[in-house]
């Protein structure tokens, strides 16, 4: 006879039969009957009608039967409160039973009967049981207080059970202590300010002692409670850490994780130069690694936690990369988590190993995993610069396999690599174009279109490629349509002559035949922009993009801190704060890591968080989603600006830019512009987009507006990429015929305090050029390359590569004639070539060239007349404010402005990188196109070059 017979299906009159059996005289029969009742209960049958009969069986000496009856009671008491009262007498009697098992059983069951009326009968027995001589009864009673508190909190306080519970923390039996701690912790959560768990060094000491003696589960309660304690200083923090550390080698992973939580939290308080800090870091790695040998379920939960720990303290696991390598029999969800952690741990030291692994993963069978692996290769390229080249070649290998989804993923990540390292890997574009036809996923198509648009000038048949996409325009997803629109506009701006028809086609498709508002509006904006002011259009659409950030999907630092406090809990698996998924008051308090104390380390450790920070609106996707229309329009990411690589624009420029578009739209849209303009101006996306864009120079947009599209054709190549300051267009420095096919044109600029030599290298020969290098002759201001010439990919025939060479001025000095002459030698695999060029003096103007008013006055007086030079600037049409703004962006600062006799007098100062000050007085006569410039300088030979620059800026 086995119990399984009880599960046989219901027969008619079964309840009746059971009733009879329950009332039988024979104990055995009674017991069997109660078992049948419970079996029915389990499968969900309603056996509440038997309540009185079952309760009648309660008074028995047979413990097995009693337990079964109690089981039934707990389930049905709530639905039969009146009947439940019948049982109270027996409960109270049982609480006095000489057998501690029965006493505990009674108090445990009573607490589980969630009927209000019973609670008043519960108080007296509970009070006795809390003081019972048997620890088993005491620990059960401790939990019962929490149960009672949940039903009737007021009653528990009135009866003084909380104080008794607090006393139990000092109990001699560790199990009682653990349960008391657990019960108090739970009660304390519903009274955040009650200070119920009054944690002080004495109680902490008691808890730490109990920690060594109690069961594994009790240890978890105690460790979780310790994690809420805030040590007074780093010494106390260290002593707690020392006593918790042995728990790290426990076999129960829950104990280990609770210990890790305490240590991660208290570590925050330890000074980093302490020896113990290093020791602790070392001790944390092995237990985390051990977790990865557990069952897949535990592994998954562990990996989610490790993901947090790695973001907070990457140094703990930096040498353990190998354990995160994927096993072929890992479940997919474990594989994906491991991949994520691998990328987080990737560094220059281990990148070769990681790449080799990722390449293997990319040939596996599971499609999801392969995709993520390919993406991971791209993320490695972006994270570890030294590996970028290897990553790109790995991706190219993968593209060769022609496996559809691999190719598509690879193209999506290569687009990101282009963004991160502009002008480095464009030689692969040809390979990418070969795979155009196999792309069927919107994301890959959009990425490819972006690449074609961005590098239209290097792809001979860019117009054909884009045209081929245009045929099925209306069947594409919005993402692709938007990209296609932008790409064709870019192409048009770069190759205006051949693509006029194409751009008109796409604009009409977007504006007239589409009912997608995003697409339509963007189409209109481009259209108006192109027809109103093609110069501005070019500057907006082809603006320089900020670099993309290195790490994606980083958790925001404050959230990360909170999650670190919740290591080992559900929050750490969801990566969400508990308040996001726990209802009611429990556990909603936000936890924070303690501030670091000790040896004067006030700033956060550098590995925490990203420089630049990840804003709450950060989007992990590199292509902005469709909703970020404006940002996308300008081809900017709305995500966090790249760490420090973008010079912060001055507020004046920002305002100018916003204003520009606002008023531009006003005139564009006429009367209807009100809502649209307002929307754009007010949206945060706008602000973000412009904040990241140093590119738009207000002054140059005030240039006379030509008429419509036709005007654009005159543009040719005369517009350089503008950044803040005026930059002269590139001119040819070295013609191809003088240099065996290598043509070099270039210009100089100053961005964020760094002098840049912008070079375009064009290969007009028949063979590939490689191994580029550059050197300067000695010159007047000691200009020298700050790094090697970065031409990493071979320059194939008819290819042009854009290179920015940062310069410094610590090189050897020799006075040149003219003063700003620079002699350059460029070498490649063919030969060495020499040329000379002249740089505008403005690149030497440093950012702190603004003189104090008083100093200016004194200096002006101090410099004698023979060091003064006067110049006439003719045919200038610009007012004094605009002039001042324009000059300011070249680090020529206006100190004061006076109006004398209808003349605007601007007093300006600038400082050369070698410390020479130049003082200027610019006189503008209203209505007259001729300006007078007086320059005073202790080294008068520079005045002429300063004047030249004034002239260039004011006339352009």
């Amino acid at each position: 006879m086995t119990d399984s017979k009880y599960f046989t299906t219901t027969k008619k009159g079964e309840i009746f039969e059971l009733k009879a059996e329950l009332n039988s005289d024979k104990k055995e029969k009674k017991k069997e009957a109660v078992k049948k009742v419970i079996a029915s209960m389990t499968v969900g049958k309603d056996v509440s009608a038997l309540f009185p009969d079952v309760v009648n069986c309660m008074q028995t000496d047979n413990l097995e039967l009693k337990k079964l009856v109690y089981l039934y009671l707990m389930n049905y008491a709530k639905s039969q409160p009146d009947m439940a009262i019948m049982a109270v007498n027996t409960f109270v009697k049982d609480c006095e039973d000489p057998n501690p098992l029965i006493r505990a059983l009674a108090v445990r069951t009573m607490g589980c009967i969630r009927v209000d009326k019973i609670t008043e009968y519960l108080c007296e027995p509970l009070r006795k049981c809390l003081k019972d001589e048997d620890p088993y009864v005491r620990k059960t009673a401790a939990v019962c207080v929490a149960k009672l508190h949940d039903i009737n909190a007021q009653l528990v306080e009135d009866q003084g059970f909380l104080d008794t519970l607090k006393d139990l923390i000092s109990d001699s039996n560790p199990m009682v202590v653990a349960n008391a701690v657990a019960a108090l912790s739970e009660i304390a959560e519903s009274h955040p300010n009650s200070n119920l768990l009054d944690l002080n060094p004495q109680t902490i000491n008691k808890l730490l002692t109990a920690l060594n003696e109690c069961t594994e589960w009790g240890q978890i309660f105690i460790l979780d409670c310790l994690a809420n304690y805030m040590p007074r200083d780093d010494r106390e923090s260290q002593s707690i850490c020392e006593r918790v550390t042995p728990r790290l080698s426990h076999a129960n992973s829950a104990v280990v994780l609770s210990a890790v939580k305490v240590l991660m939290k208290f570590m925050e308080m330890l000074p980093k130069d302490l020896d113990y800090y290093g020791t602790l870091l070392k001790k944390l790695a092995p237990p985390l690694v051990t977790l990865l040998s557990a069952e897949p379920e535990l592994q998954y939960v562990a990996l989610r936690n490790i993901n947090l720990i790695v973001q907070k303290r990457p140094e703990i696991l930096k040498h353990e990369m190998k354990v995160f390598f994927v096993k072929y029999n890992d479940p997919i969800y474990v594989k994906l988590e491991k991949l994520d952690i691998m990328i987080r741990l990737a560094s220059q030291a281990n990148i070769a190993q990681v790449l080799a692994e990722l390449k293997e993963y990319a040939t596996e069978v599971d499609v999801d995993f392969v995709r993520k692996a390919v993406r991971a290769i791209g993320r490695c390229a972006i994270k570890v610069e030294q590996s970028a080249e290897r990553c790109v070649s790995t991706l190219l290998d993968l593209i060769q396999t022609k496996v559809n989804y691999v190719v598509q993923e690879a193209i999506v990540v290569i687009k990101d690599i282009f963004r991160k390292y502009p002008n480095k890997y464009e030689s692969v574009i040809a390979t990418l174009c070969e795979n155009l036809d196999s792309l069927d996923e919107p994301e890959a198509r959009a990425a490819m279109i972006w690449i074609v648009g961005e590098y239209a000038e290097r792809i001979d048949n860019a117009d054909e490629l884009l045209e081929s996409f245009l045929e099925g325009f209306h069947d594409e997803s919005t993402q692709v349509q938007l990209q296609l629109l932008t790409a064709i506009v870019k192409l048009f701006l770069k190759k205006p002559t051949e693509t006029q028809e194409l751009v008109q086609q796409v604009l009409s498709l977007a504006t007239q035949d589409s009912d997608n508002p995003d697409l339509r509006d963007r189409g209109y904006i481009y259209w108006r922009l192109l027809s109103t002011d093609p110069v501005a259009a070019k500057e907006v659409v082809l603006a320089e993009k900020p670099l993309i950030s290195e790490e994606t999907d980083l958790i925001e630092p404050t959230l990360l801190e909170e999650l670190i406090c919740h290591i080992g809990t559900l929050a750490s698996v969801y990566h969400k704060p508990p308040s996001a998924f726990v209802e009611g008051s429990r556990g909603v308090q936000h936890k924070r890591l303690p501030p670091r104390s000790g040896s004067g380390e006030s700033t956060e450790s550098p590995e925490v968080g990203q420089p630049g920070g990840t804003g709450p609106e950060a989007t992990p996707a590199v292509i902005p989603s469709q909703s970020d229309l404006l940002g996308d329009l300008l081809n900017l990411d709305l995500g966090p600006p790249a760490s420090g690589s973008v010079p912060a624009p001055t507020s004046g420029m920002q305002m100018g830019a916003v204003d520009l578009l606002g008023s531009g739209l006003d005139t564009l849209m006429g009367d209807d512009s009100e809502p649209l303009g307002g929307d754009i101006g007010g949206s945060p996306a706008m602000g973000a987009g412009f904040a990241g864009a140093p590119a738009v120079m207000p002054a140059s947009l005030n240039a006379p507006v030509g008429g419509g599209l036709g005007d654009l054709f005159d543009l040719g190549s005369s517009m350089g990429m503008t950044t803040g300051a005026y930059v002269a267009p590139k001119s040819v420095w070295l013609p191809a015929m003088k240099a065996k096919g290598l043509e070099i044109s270039g210009t100089f600029s100053r961005r964020a305090g760094v002098i840049q030599m912008e070079l375009s290298l064009t290969n007009k020969a028949m063979s590939i050029m490689t191994d580029f290098a550059i050197q300067f002759n000695r010159n007047s201001f000691g200009l020298a390359p700050a790094g090697p010439l970065q031409v990493l990919t071979p320059l194939s025939p008819n290819q042009t590569i854009e290179v920015s060479l940062p310069l410094n001025n610590v090189g050897p000095v020799m006075k040149m004639e003219p003063l700003n002459n620079l002699q350059v030698a460029v070498k490649n695999n063919i030969d060495v070539f020499y040329f000379s060029c002249q740089y505008p003096i403005s690149i030497l103007f440093v950012e702190d060239g603004k003189m104090e008013r008083q100093v200016f006055l004194a200096t002006w007086k101090d410099i004698t007349g023979e060091n003064e030079a006067q110049f006439q600037i003719k045919d200038c049409h610009i007012n004094s404010d605009a002039a001042s703004n324009k000059l300011q962006s070249s680090n020529m600062f206006t100190i004061a402005k006076r109006i004398v006799d209808g003349q605007d007098m601007l007093y300006q100062s600038m400082k050369l990188s070698n410390g020479i000050w130049v003082l200027a007085e610019l006189r503008l006569q209203a209505g007259s196109p001729n300006y007078t410039l007086s320059l005073k300088c202790r080294a008068p030979e520079v005045s002429q070059y300063v004047f030249q620059y004034y002239e260039t800026v004011l006339k352009n």
């Binding site: 399984s4 589960w217 426990h250 969800y333 698996v573």
Partner: protein, 425 residues
């Protein structure tokens, strides 16, 4: 804090349901079953949530063991608890299956009652539990030595092995019905799981051994058991290994009941095993295998003239000949193409140590190109090596004190499993 615990059969039948905190309704069971069966493949099934109720489950023996919670509880605690629950059911009922759970539901309810109170875990130790449990287990079938259908090491769930001394490792620990004589057995299993990655050039790229010593004890009382390991056993990465047959592991941790006072000098573990199964020691070794990996594979992949893919595999077992199997007859093999997983499955039922096997697979692949060859691989092997540990760990002796009146049978068994043995092409 655990709100509910329930056990479902693979078909979704309710086998056990217990509510501890009255926070959720019985509907949770059906909600869970719908969620877990409708889960898309790429979603991790471990933690699921619906309307403020969080489900954490494990799957063992074809059953879903589920716990729910409404608080920000620790999934580690809950998963560990559910694993213990499954192990305890195995200990008490002999096996974990739908049948054994149905037959012993009263016992399981009683256990749950003692293990959890108001969702707080109280104990999972058989020593403590046996003081409280009143119900007697019902074994699914009367134990018989001749019934070999459920032969298997308890430590090794997947593969079967005929070297197991008897089926007695899978019977309830506390059955009082008969079998008094055989009751006093002790099993000590050393189980190692081997993870190996061998690169395309034959270089060992990664080795990782996870090992454990498990004890299953049927003695009703046992004051102390001493397990002697190899005397040359060393722990830690830094220690230099001499020329001898030293056995080294990187890390080890022990069951909390293990006393280590003789471990440092004599490599002896002392434990008073409680009835049932427990993992006495876990250890791991990375990267530094004392001997060559057990299998070497020499693969060649090429394309023949008629555009067929040729995969030539030569497999060699590097273990000393006698360590493997009893007979040296040519092994029976099977091979099969599995289109769903795009794999060729080569099965070798027995592989003598020191032997070498070759196979040539010719595959017709439509549209085969040179680039497709790059996609072939890797080779993954799964195997079981009985009577062998890759670390070389051995149990020197197993002593019980005080000496039992009627000597109890003691079994020591070794086995190495492949966890993930991958050879890249």
């Amino acid at each position: 804090m655990i709100s509910q615990v329930f056990i479902l059969s693979s078909k979704g039948d309710h086998l056990i349901y217990k509510d501890f905190r009255g926070e959720a309704t019985t509907d949770a069971i059906n909600v869970f079953y719908q969620m877990v069966t409708a889960l898309p493949g790429d979603q991790p099934p471990v933690v699921m949530t619906r309307e403020g109720l969080h489900f954490i489950h494990i799957r063992q023996g074809g059953l879903y063991c589920v716990a729910t919670t409404t608080t920000n509880a620790s999934p580690f605690t809950i998963i560990e608890f559910l694993n213990r629950l499954a192990a305890l059911i195995k200990d008490y009922c002999g096996s974990l299956s739908e049948k054994s759970v149905r037959m012993n539901f009263a016992l399981i309810y009683e256990m749950l009652d003692e293990m959890l109170d108001y969702g707080y875990i109280q104990t999972t130790s058989t020593d403590i539990l046996k003081n409280f449990i009143q119900t007697e287990a019902v074994s699914s079938k009367p134990f018989s030595l001749f019934d070999l259908s459920n032969v298997g090491l308890f430590g090794a769930e997947t593969q079967q092995s005929r070297v197991t001394p008897s089926a007695s490792a899978s019977r309830p620990i506390m059955s009082s019905r008969g079998d008094q004589v055989r009751k006093n057995e002790i099993f000590v299993d050393v189980v190692e799981r081997l993870t190996v990655v061998i690169g395309a050039n034959g270089v060992l790229m990664k080795v990782d051994i996870q090992g454990e010593i498990k004890v299953k004890c049927y003695l009703p009382t046992c004051s102390e058991m001493r397990i002697g390991l190899n005397e040359e056993f060393s722990v830690g990465k830094s220690q230099q290994r001499g020329y001898g047959a030293a056995v080294r592991v990187d890390e080890c941790n022990f069951h909390q009941a293990v006393r280590l006072d003789e471990f440092d000098s004599y490599r002896i573990l002392k434990i008073c095993p409680s009835q049932g199964e427990q993992t006495v020691m876990q250890y791991q070794l990375c990267d530094d295998l004392p001997s060559a990996p057990p299998f070497q594979l020499f693969p060649t992949v090429e394309r023949d003239k008629s555009d067929r893919l040729l995969i030539y595999l030569k497999l060699r077992c590097d273990l000393p000949p006698k360590s493997m199997s009893q007979e040296l007859s040519s092994p029976d093999q099977r091979a099969e193409l599995q289109p769903s997983s795009k794999a060729v499955h080569w099965e070798i039922s027995r592989f003598p140590g020191g032997a070498q096997l070759s196979a040539l697979f010719k595959l017709e692949v439509p549209g085969l190109s040179a680039a497709s060859l790059l996609e072939v691989g890797p080779v993954s092997m799964s195997f079981e090596l009985p009577k062998h540990t890759c670390t070389g760990l051995q149990i020197r002796f197993l002593r019980l004190t005080p000496v039992q009146p009627n000597p109890s049978p003691r079994w020591v068994r070794y086995v190495t499993h492949s966890d993930s043995y991958t050879i890249r092409i």
